[in-house]
C-alpha cells in the first residue's frame, strides 16, 4: 500500500512538473529574449517531456533491467543519476540549439545556463522516479537508502 502511494505520488509530481514546466523553469532561469523564444517556439514542452522521460527511463533501467546485486550500492545509483543528469540536459541542449540555429539565434551562453538548471530538475525528477518505483526491484529496492 505504502509503495503504491509512493508510486502515485511520484507520478503526480511528474505530471505537475509537465503541466507547470514553464513557470518552474522560468522561475529558476529567466532571461527575457531567451525565455520568450523558448516559450514562443514551444521548446519548454519538449524539454520537460525529455527531462521526465529520461528520469523515469534511466531509473527504470536501473531498477528493473540492470537490477543486479553487483550494481546495487548507493554509488551505483549515483552513477545512474549522473548519467540521467548528463543525458537529459545534453539532449535538451542539442534540441534547443537546433531550433535556435534554424532561426539564426545565438543563445549559446543562455543554453549553458539553462542546461545547468535542467540538470538540477533532472536530479530531482530522477530521485522522485527512483523512490516511486524501487520497491518492485528485487535487487536494488534499498538503493540508494534503505526502504
Amino acid at each position: 500500500m505504502k509503495n503504491a502511494i509512493l508510486l502515485i505520488t511520484g507520478a503526480v509530481i511528474t505530471l505537475l512538473f509537465l503541466l507547470f514546466a514553464v513557470p518552474l523553469f522560468e522561475s529558476m532561469y529567466y532571461e527575457r529574449e531567451f525565455s520568450n523564444e523558448m516559450f514562443n517556439e514551444n521548446v519548454y514542452l519538449m524539454i520537460s517531456v525529455v527531462t521526465a522521460v529520461v528520469a523515469w527511463g534511466v531509473a527504470g533501467v536501473y531498477y528493473f533491467v540492470i537490477n543486479s546485486v553487483r550494481f546495487s550500492r548507493w554509488y551505483h545509483w549515483m552513477v545512474m543519476l549522473a548519467i540521467a543528469a548528463f543525458v537529459a540536459p545534453t539532449i535538451n541542449y542539442i534540441y534547443a540549439d537546433s531550433i535556435f540555429t534554424a532561426l539564426d539565434y545565438d543563445f549559446t551562453h543562455q543554453l549553458w545556463s539553462f542546461a545547468s538548471v535542467n540538470l538540477v530538475v533532472e536530479v530531482v525528477l530522477f530521485m522522485v522516479a527512483s523512490f516511486s518505483m524501487r520497491w518492485w526491484s528485487t535487487n536494488c529496492r534499498h538503493t540508494p537508502i534503505p526502504e
Binding site: R70, S72, T138, N139, R141, H142, P146
Partner: protein
C-alpha cells in the same frame, strides 16, 4: 514424533555427531508419502566415562544445536523443514517442572563412575567361596577398574554395573513421559565394554517394565517400538601390550556378544529352538572390514578421542531409517517384536575415498541435497554474510543489522557449531575409509562439492555469492509481502531464506547431485 535415543558408550556418542550434522542440515524422516515428519529427539548418553572426549564433543554439539534451534524456532516441535528443524531436548526438558533431574543429555551414572568394580560388588565383604567365584569371572584388572573410565572393553563388568539403570531417577522420569506413539533407539558398539553391555540391559529393562512396579506407563514401555544400531568392528587401535584393549580381541568379543544377542535379544531361543521373535523391532548391523587409521590406544585415562569415521555417518542414517518404518511393521505383543526387521548397509562403490555419490541411491536421494545445502549455507554465513549486511534482503523488515554478528546466536553458530562441523569433516577426510563430501579448501560455492560440477553456460554464470544474494533478495521480497517473518523473527528469516535459496540454487546451478 518423539524419539528417545540411547547412546551407549563411546560409539554411541560418536554416532550422534553425524546425526546432529544431518539434523542441522534439515534432514527429516519421511512418512509413507515422502513428506517430512516433525521430530523431537531426546538423546540420553549412557556412559560412565564422563571424561571421554568423544562424549564431551557430542554433548557440546547437542547443547549448541539446542540453543541454535531454540533461537530459530522456539520451543515448537512442529517444524518440518529448514536447517536445525528437528528438535533436540534433554530428558529434563520434557518432564514436568519441579522434578529433580539435571538439565543434561547424560544419564547420571555417578554411583557407578565413582567406584572400583570390586567396591561396586562389595567384593571385600563376600565370603571366600563367592570371592573365588568372582575371581573366576573377573580378572584382577577388571576388579580393580575404576569405572569412571567406562568398562574398558569388558562387557562382563558393564553388564553388572549398568543393571542399576532400572532403579535410576532418569529411567523413572523416562517412563513417566513415554507415550505409546514414541519410539526408542539404542546405539552401541558390540566390540567394546560399555556399548556391548549397555544395549541388552536397556532393552531388557524396557521390555521388562511390566514387572517394575516403580515406574509408570509399563504397558506402553513393554510394547514400545525399539530399534537398535549395533556397530561391529570398524576402527583400529595402536597395539599396546599394557592396554586391555586390542584389535585382535574385537572379532572374538563381537562373536561372543552376537551369540548372546541371538539367544536373548535380537533373536530368541527357547528350549534349543530359534523363535521368529525378538525383543528389538528393528536391528541394524554396521561395520567395515577396512580398519580405520589406528587410534591412540587409550582405555580411557587420557580422554579417548577418536576421529570421526564414515561408519558413524552411515550409522546415524539408521536412526532416520528406523523412524521411517511404518507403525504396523513395528508391532510388539507382550514385549516381543512380531516381525523383527534386520538390516545391513552396503556402499554403492567400494572405494577407500568416498564422496556423496558413493552411497546407494536411496541414501543419495535422502540426504545429499540437504547436506549440500547446509554446506553452502555454512560457506555463505562464514565468508559472505558480513559483506551483504546493509544490502538487499538484510534491509527488509525485520532488518538484519551489523549487530547481528555479535549476537549469541551467531556466535554459537559460527564460533562453536561450525567449528565442530569443520572438525568433523576434516576428521572424516583424514580417516580410513576417507569420506570427502566437500572440498574443504574451497571458499567459493562452485568448487565446494566434490565430484559435483557446478553448471555454467552461455549467459549463465556458475553459482556464486552474488547469485545467492540475488535469490535471497527475491524471496525476501515475496515473503515481506505476506509478512512471513513478522517484525522480529530475524534469525528465522536468515535461516529460512538460506534454506529456501539453496533449495532453489542447488537444483539450478549444479549438475546431478545424486
Amino acid at each position: 514424533m518423539r524419539l528417545f535415543l540411547f547412546l551407549v558408550g563411546g560409539t554411541g556418542s560418536r554416532v550422534m555427531r553425524p546425526l546432529i550434522m544431518q539434523f542441522a542440515a534439515g534432514i527429516h524422516p519421511l512418512d509413507s508419502e515422502g513428506n517430512p515428519m516433525p521430530l523431537e529427539v531426546v538423546p540420553i548418553i549412557v556412559d560412565p566415562h564422563k571424561a571421554n572426549e568423544d562424549l564431551k564433543r557430542t554433548d557440546n554439539l547437542m547443547r549448541w544445536y539446542k540453543q541454535i534451534r531454540y533461537s530459530i524456532y522456539g520451543e515448537t516441535v512442529d517444524v518440518r523443514k529448514g536447517f536445525f528443524s528437528v528438535k533436540i531436548s534433554t530428558l529434563s526438558d520434557i518432564i514436568p517442572v519441579g522434578t529433580n533431574l539435571s538439565d543434561s543429555f547424560l544419564f547420571n551414572l555417578g554411583s557407578i563412575a565413582s567406584k572400583k568394580f570390586q567396591d561396586f560388588i562389595s567384593y571385600s565383604t563376600l565370603d571366600t567361596a563367592n570371592q573365588a567365584l568372582c575371581s573366576m569371572m573377573f580378572s584382577d584388572y577388571q576388579l580393580d577398574t575404576k569405572m569412571d573410565i567406562g568398562f574398558v572393553g569388558s562387557p562382563n563388568i558393564g553388564s553388572i554395573a549398568l543393571n542399576q539403570f532400572k532403579d535410576s531417577e532418569e529411567f523413572k522420569q523416562f517412563s513417566n513421559v513415554f507415550q505409546k506413539t514414541d519410539r526408542i533407539f539404542v546405539v552401541s558398539s558390540i566390540f567394546g565394554g560399555t556399548g556391548a553391555a549397555g544395549y541388552p540391559i536397556i532393552v531388557k529393562n524396557i521390555r521388562n517394565a511390566g514387572n517394575n512396579a516403580q515406574i509408570n506407563n509399563r504397558g506402553d514401555l513393554r510394547d514400545a517400538k525399539i530399534g537398535a544400531l549395533t556397530v561391529l568392528p570398524y576402527f583400529n587401535v595402536q597395539q599396546d601390550e599394557n592396554s586391555p584393549i586390542s584389535r585382535a580381541d574385537f572379532i572374538s568379543k563381537t562373536k561372543s556378544a552376537l551369540f548372546y544377542y541371538h539367544d536373548n535379544l535380537t533373536g530368541l531361543r527357547r528350549h534349543g529352538v530359534d523363535l521368529q521373535e525378538s525383543k528389538v523391532n528393528a536391528c541394524y548391523y554396521l561395520g567395515d572390514e577396512i580398519p580405520s587409521n589406528p587410534y591412540f590406544n587409550d582405555p580411557g585415562e587420557n580422554g579417548q578421542r577418536n576421529d570421526a569415521h564414515v561408519v558413524e555417518y552411515v550409522g546415524a542414517l539408521a536412526v532416520l531409517d528406523f523412524l521411517q518404518i511404518p507403525d504396523q511393521q513395528l508391532e510388539t505383543v507382550e514385549g516381543y517384536a512380531q516381525n523383527p526387521i534386520y538390516k545391513e548397509y552396503g556402499l554403492a562403490n567400494n572405494k577407500l575415498t568416498l564422496n556423496l555419490k558413493d552411497f546407494g541411491l536411496p541414501t543419495r536421494l535422502f540426504v545429499n541435497k540437504q547436506l549440500i545445502k547446509f554446506h553452502l549455507a555454512y560457506l555463505y554465513l562464514t565468508y559472505q554474510l558480513k559483506e551483504d549486511l546493509g544490502r538487499g534482503y538484510t534491509l527488509d523488515k525485520p532488518e538484519i543489522s551489523k549487530g547481528f554478528l555479535v549476537t549469541s546466536f551467531f556466535s554459537t553458530l559460527t564460533s562453536d557449531f561450525f567449528v565442530g562441523y569443520m572438525t568433523w569433516l576434516k576428521e572424516l577426510r583424514a580417516n580410513q575409509r576417507s569420506f570427502m563430501p566437500f572440498n574443504l579448501k574451497a571458499t567459493n560455492l562452485s568448487d565446494s562439492i566434490n565430484e559435483v560440477e557446478a553448471k555454467a553456460g552461455f549467459l549463465k554464470s556458475k553459482i556464486d555469492y552474488k547469485s545467492v544474494l540475488s535469490t535471497m533478495n527475491k524471496l525476501s521480497q515475496q515473503y515481506a509481502k505476506i509478512g512471513k517473518y513478522g517484525t522480529d523473527k530475524v534469525i528465522f528469516k536468515l535461516m529460512d531464506l538460506l534454506d529456501e535459496t539453496f533449495e532453489k540454487l542447488v537444483d539450478e546451478k549444479f549438475n546431478s547431485i545424486v
